[in-house]
Amino acid sequence: MATFDFSLFDCGFAFGSVTYIDRYPGDEQNARIVVSVTIAGGHTTPMIVDTATPWCILDPEIAEALGLMADSYAPSRRLTIRGTPYQGMLVRVPITIQPTNGGQLAAEATFFIPTLEPGDVWSHPNFLGLDGFLNHIRFAVDAQENTFYFGRP
C-alpha cells in the first residue's frame, strides 16, 4: 500500500494506483515512468508515461498482432514522433491499467501506429501520450515511492 493511497482515494482524486518501474527494458541510462498497460484486452506491455508526446505510441508489430489497424485514420502528412517524421495511422484503442491498489482503469486512447518501409525496424519504446490519453484522466506521480495514481476527471 502506497503512503498516499488512502488520502488520494478518499478525496476522490484517484481511485487506483500502480507501482511503476523507472527504467524501460533495454534502456538503463534514462529514468522513466514505465507502467504496464493492457492493450485491447489481450496484450500487456510496458509503456512510458510521457507528457511531451501528444499521442500514445505503439510498436507496429503489436498493433498488427492485435489487428488494430482496421478502423484507423491515416493523415496524408507525416507526423513527427520524437523528432523524426513518420508516416502512420491514428487509431482509437481500449486500454486498461491493472492497479497495485484500488480499482482498475479502463479507457480509450488514441494511438499512433507507424507504418514502416520494408526492411525498417521500429526501435522506440511504447508511450502513453498527453493528448491521446493522459489529458482525459486525472493522474499524479509519487517519485519517492514509484507510484502512479489515476482517477476520473
Binding site: 527494458p25 533495454g26 503489436i62 498482432a65 493523415p75 507526423l79 480509450e108
Partner: protein, 220 residues
C-alpha cells in the same frame, strides 16, 4: 517499267515513236492516279488533324475547368505555405478564421492533416469538431472524429488479482540480457524469447497470451 517522266523520255531514243507515245500516255495516267490518291490522303490527313486539334482544344479546356474546380481556395494554399515554412501562429490564426462550412471537406481534411503534422493537436481537434458539424456525411471527416474526438470513456472496474508488478520487476532486473529480442514474462518468470513477436507467440502458445503476461521488445 519507267516510273518517272524523265525515265520515259530517256527511253525514247531507243523505242519507236508509237510505242513511246503509248508508254507516255500510260505514264501520265499513272501519274494522275498517284496525284489523285496523294491528294485524297492529304485531304483525309487534314481532316483527321483538324479533328485531333479540335479534340485537344476541347480536352484542354475541360481539364482546365476540372483543375480550376478542384484547386484549393487561396486561404488553403496560404495555410499550406505557412505550414511548410513552420509559421505555426499565423497558421493557427488563419485556420480558425476560415468558415469551413463553405469549403470542400477534402480541403478541411487537408488542413487537419497539416495541423496534425505540426503537432497542433488542439487546433486539429477543433477543425475535426467543425468538420463533424459541417460535413456529417463525409467518411474521412467522420473517421477523424472517431479517432481524435476528445470524449474518452473512463471506467472504473474492480481490481483483479495481478502479478504484473513482479513481471515488471523481472524486466527491470533482467531485461538488458535480451537486447533487441521480444520477451514474455509471466508472474515474474521468463516464458519465452524470440526475435519477432510472431515467433514469440508461437513459442508461448495461447495459454501464455493472456493479459497477465507482460510482452515487450527490449530496446537494443
Amino acid at each position: 517499267m519507267p516510273a518517272t517522266r524523265d525515265a520515259c523520255c530517256y527511253e525514247y531514243s531507243y523505242r519507236k515513236p508509237r510505242e513511246h507515245y503509248a508508254e507516255m500516255l500510260r505514264c501520265r495516267h499513272q501519274r494522275r492516279l498517284r496525284n489523285k490518291s496523294a491528294g485524297s490522303i492529304l485531304g483525309k490527313c487534314g481532316r483527321v488533324l483538324h479533328s485531333v486539334r479540335e479534340y485537344y482544344r476541347k480536352g484542354i479546356a475541360a481539364a482546365n475547368e476540372r483543375i480550376a474546380a478542384n484547386l484549393p481556395p487561396l486561404e488553403v494554399l496560404a495555410l499550406e505555405h505557412l505550414a511548410d515554412s513552420g509559421k505555426t501562429q499565423e497558421f493557427d490564426r488563419l485556420a480558425r478564421t476560415i468558415d469551413w462550412s463553405t469549403q470542400r471537406p477534402a480541403h478541411l481534411a487537408r488542413v487537419m492533416d497539416l495541423a496534425l503534422s505540426l503537432d497542433m493537436i488542439t487546433l486539429a481537434k477543433e477543425l475535426v469538431w467543425r468538420g463533424s458539424v459541417a460535413f456529417p456525411d463525409n467518411k474521412r471527416i467522420q473517421h477523424a472524429v472517431a479517432v481524435l474526438s476528445p470524449h474518452v470513456a473512463v471506467k472504473t472496474q474492480p481490481a483483479q488479482t495481478s502479478h504484473i508488478d513482479v513481471s515488471q520487476q523481472w524486466l527491470k532486473e533482467h531485461g538488458s540480457e535480451y537486447k533487441g529480442q521480444w520477451v514474455a514474462v509471466h508472474n515474474g518468470m521468463l516464458l519465452g524469447v524470440a526475435p519477432t513477436l510472431k515467433q514469440l507467440h508461437t513459442q508461448i502458445g495461447p495459454e501464455g497470451k493472456t493479459a497477465q503476461t507482460v510482452i515487450v521488445k527490449v530496446l537494443s
